[in-house]
């Protein structure tokens, strides 16, 4: 193996291992955090980072081939859709008036959530307030 091969291997494995570490941390956070909002936060942020690093590592492994182009397309696709899915879940919870643990103290948040729930009710969406 030449020096360049070693550099490619080391760089790609650093990226892949870091991406795996991000995903494992996200999984642990999903299991261990106390309520919905912190779980969503843990899994969404680490998911994007881990996915990008894994794709980058695989791109370096593949070199200048068609596989790299496909991996970049997959990366862009996941980079757009992952946060969108998280947004949809979190938005649905927020509209239905689901508050973070211990948020009763924060009046402004409750007021905002009430307002959102009222708007949703006006539009005849289901306000499942406090039932989730």
């Amino acid at each position: 193996m030449t020096a360049l091969d070693w550099i490619v291997e080391i760089a790609s494995w650093i990226a892949i291992l870091m991406g795996s570490a991000f995903l494992i941390i996200g999984a642990i956070g999903t299991l261990r955090f106390p309520d919905f909002w912190s779980r969503v936060h843990a899994v969404s942020v680490t998911d994007s980072a881990g996915m990008l690093l894994l794709t980058l590592g695989m791109c370096i492994q593949a070199g200048f081939t068609l596989i790299t182009v496909k991996l970049i397309i997959i990366g862009v696709f996941l980079f757009i859709t992952g946060p969108t899915a998280t947004h949809a879940v979190a938005n649905a919870a927020f509209v239905s008036g689901f508050l973070p643990k211990g948020a009763d103290k924060f009046r402004r948040v409750i007021k905002l959530a009430d307002k959102e729930a009222k708007i949703a009710k006006k539009r005849k969406r289901s306000p499942l307030k406090g039932k989730l």
Binding site: F77, I80, H87, N91, I119, A120
Partner: protein, 146 residues
């Protein structure tokens, strides 16, 4: 509308690439994983995603139910028609060699592409039809009642 803004923008962005990817899976099926069934499902997913985000009425304007049923029949017709053509050419049912007797291999490729196209069209249409059937049912419980 305000709450669905991001979803709507992303959906508009994604529906085109999803359809394109379905066609890629469809017509690249001989060389890579894929084929008619998978391509049909991906093609239907674009319409289902559009229907979920923009509402059933909108997607029914894009792909009206009567056309869905016609496409479901058209795919079967293409599949069976390929077989009938090979019978007409004097061979067994679905024997692709008969499509191009001078170069049987080319005939097989053409025949497989034709029947995969039929499978894809039927699967896409049936998936969309199932979605329509489920989504246009009247809800059993009112949203306000639970």
């Amino acid at each position: 509308m305000r709450h669905h803004l991001i979803l709507r923008v992303i959906t508009k962005l994604l529906v085109g690439p999803i359809l394109l990817f379905a066609l890629y899976v469809q017509f690249h099926g001989e060389y890579s994983p894929g084929g008619g069934f998978q391509a049909g499902v991906i093609f239907a997913v674009a319409f289902i995603l559009f229907g979920i985000v923009f509402g059933l009425e909108t997607v029914k304007k894009v792909f009206p139910p009567w056309l869905v049923h016609k496409f479901a029949a058209l795919g079967v017709l293409i599949f069976a028609g390929t077989g009938v053509v090979s019978v007409m050419l004097g061979s067994n049912y679905l024997n692709y060699n008969a499509l191009n007797p001078d170069n049987p291999q080319l005939g097989q490729v053409g025949g497989i592409i034709a029947i995969e196209l039929g499978v894809g069209i039927t699967v896409a249409a049936v998936m969309v039809a199932i979605y329509y059937a489920f989504a246009s049912r009247t809800p059993m419980i009112n949203d306000e009642d639970w």
